[in-house]
Amino acid sequence: MTDRIDFDQVREVIRIARESGVADLEVETPTLKVRVRRGTAGASGDQAPVGAAHVAPAPLASAATPKTPAASEDHLVPIIAPMVGTFYRAASPDAAPFIKEGDDVDEGQVVCIIEAMKLFNEIQAETRGRVARVLVENASPVEYGQPLFLLDTAARG
């Protein structure tokens, strides 16, 4: 066992929380304690959003008001690749990227394209937020489940 945080475990806990729909999930192992709390629909920004993970024993982050740029990583949610393929940030080589860092993204908005089996699959954001980071280079191969972007879900009201 190493002392490093096992992000796979964290990711798994987030996934379970999301899929099961529970509001608050806490998982403790000898090396790790993770707590995931879901925001309810229509709630203001003072709740931890879907997928916010706390690596224990940190207490829940206090409210981030809509206009405050979130400094804490607590509000960062990855957009993950739902399939294996080639990641493209724009619809064509000379078009502008769908999203770039600092952009506001709405739920259901197309954020990139993954080419698989000669088909171009538009990938949509599952939650609204502000693009905090682009994690993958344009035209790179991506695995299933690979994080593509980080969205700051607390950065918007």
């Binding site: 294996v84 393929g85 698989a116 089996m117 191969p141 695995e143 299933y144 489940g145």
Partner: protein, 450 residues
């Protein structure tokens, strides 16, 4: 020869294929589900790519994600292992359409053998004996009586849609036929929503004996001897050996010839296995052909000295078989025990979880194929095979003694395994005399004494 091979499988067989590739100087790509992220095949391969979530329907069976990985990483061949996509003719076809070599038989051979009733007809045409019976479903009592004249008694009525014993009746005399037909139909209708039944000659206490085939693209078909896989539980093989004990040389030769004819009849290329039922008088009947490498292939490797997986790769790369039938020599006796994460004391229920300590056996004549290690967690999503122990000896007695010695050395803590069951079989007097048949486990092994 290929430069890079994608292994579309997991567990011990993925490792087996990776080892063969590395010996041939071929780079390897492992694919894995999220549940297998920290598994050994991922570590051993030169490259690894996650292709889906834990459920195999969305990962190891996910053809689009596997093909995308193959294209993105530029592989020139795919080895399917066994299970998952190994006997899916559509997958073999898609791989070939992508100008990637499929390390296995041509799609049409998989398809021909996959349709069990069409395969039966095909084998009859090729002069390979099949279990006598009706051609498809029997319409009524009169037809059943006609079929019975060919099969003789006892015969068995089976549900066309079924399995698991439902809609199944063994009939010993013509007087019982009409009533048995009716109950089998009713049972079948109730269980499967389909009252169609067919009739076969009933073979009491058959042995399951199979012949390993290796064929190249240039019409050379070799047989690599037979394996006895009669020690089964619910049609799952648990222990296999080669050569089959107490089988006449004459029968072995006839089996091998029939298997070669079966392979030739479907234009077979690559490694395959022709399975037969053998009765007490050593009459044998074609059961099916497995169009892939099998779990128990190391038994044949042990007695022939050949590396079947390397041969598979060479054949797929278009090479000729380096040997002829005359060059195939059989030495000694080999046994394989499948170590499953199951509790034999509780009806073989699955026993997934953390293996806190894993100490495999060693020594002369012992081989272990496994993907397990101390600290490995067996995920609950896949099959329960965790290791294969193969023991070779100059004769069957030495192989049995070695296997016993090897299994006693194994230490696996944290989960239950089938080892106590295997030790019981190895000690059984009937087994030691080579008296085996497919219901050996029910008849000879008392679950309360495990």
């Amino acid at each position: 020869m290929f430069r890079k091979v994608l292994v579309a499988n997991r567990g011990e067989i993925a490792i087996r294929v990776i080892r063969a590739c590395h010996e041939l100087g071929i780079r390897t790509v492992a694919v894995y589900s999220e549940a297998d992220r920290s598994s050994l095949h991922v570590k051993m391969a030169d490259e690894a790519f996650c292709i889906g979530p834990a459920a195999s329907a969305n990962s190891y069976l996910n053809i689009p994600n596997i093909m995308s990985t193959a294209e993105l990483l530029g592989v020139d061949a795919i080895h399917p292992g066994y299970g998952f996509l190994a006997e899916n003719p559509r997958f073999a076809e898609i791989v070939t359409d992508h100008k990637i070599a499929f390390i296995g038989p041509p799609a049409r051979a998989i398809e021909a053998m996959g349709d069990k009733s069409a395969a039966r007809t095909l084998m009859q045409k090729a002069g390979v004996s099949v279990v006598p019976g009706s051609h498809g479903a029997v319409a009524g009592e009169r037809e059943a009586l006609e079929v019975a004249r060919v099969t003789g008694y006892p015969l068995i009525i089976k549900a066309a849609a079924g399995g698991g014993g439902r809609g199944m009746r063994v009939v010993h005399t013509p007087h019982d036929l009409a009533a048995a037909l009716q109950t089998a139909r009713q049972e079948s209708e109730a269980a499967f929503g389909d009252g169609q039944v067919y009739i076969e000659k009933y073979i009491g206490e058959p042995r399951h004996i199979e012949v390993q085939i290796l064929a190249d693209r240039y019409n050379t078909v070799l047989h690599l001897g037979a394996r006895d896989c009669s020690i089964q539980r619910r049609h799952q093989k648990l222990l296999e050996e080669s050569p089959p004990p107490r089988l006449r040389e004459r029968t072995l030769i006839a089996l091998a010839r029939a298997a070669v004819r079966a392979a030739q009849a479907v234009g077979y290329v690559n490694a395959g296995t022709v399975e037969f039922l053998v009765d007490a008088q050593e009459n044998f009947y074609f059961m099916e052909m497995n169009t892939r490498i099998q779990v128990e292939h190391p038994v044949t490797e042990a007695v022939t000295g050949l590396d079947l997986v390397k041969e598979q790769i060479r054949i797929a790369a278009g090479e000729r078989l380096p040997i002829s039938q005359r060059d195939v020599e059989f030495r000694g006796h080999a046994i394989e025990c499948r170590i499953n994460a199951e509790d034999p004391r509780h009806d073989f229920r699955p026993s997934a979880g953390l293996i806190s300590r894993f100490q495999p056996p060693g020594g002369p004549g012992v081989r272990v194929d496994t993907h397990c290690f101390s600290g490995y967690t067996i995920p609950p999503y896949y099959d329960s095979l965790i290791a294969k122990v193969i023991a070779w000896g100059r004769d069957r007695d030495e192989a049995i003694t070695r296997m016993h010695r090897a299994l006693a050395e194994v230490e696996i803590a944290g989960i239950r395994t089938t080892i106590p069951f295997h030790l019981k079989v190895l000690d059984n007097a009937f087994f030691r005399r080579g008296e085996v048949y497919t219901n050996f486990v029910q008849r000879r092994i008392d679950p309360d004494q495990l």
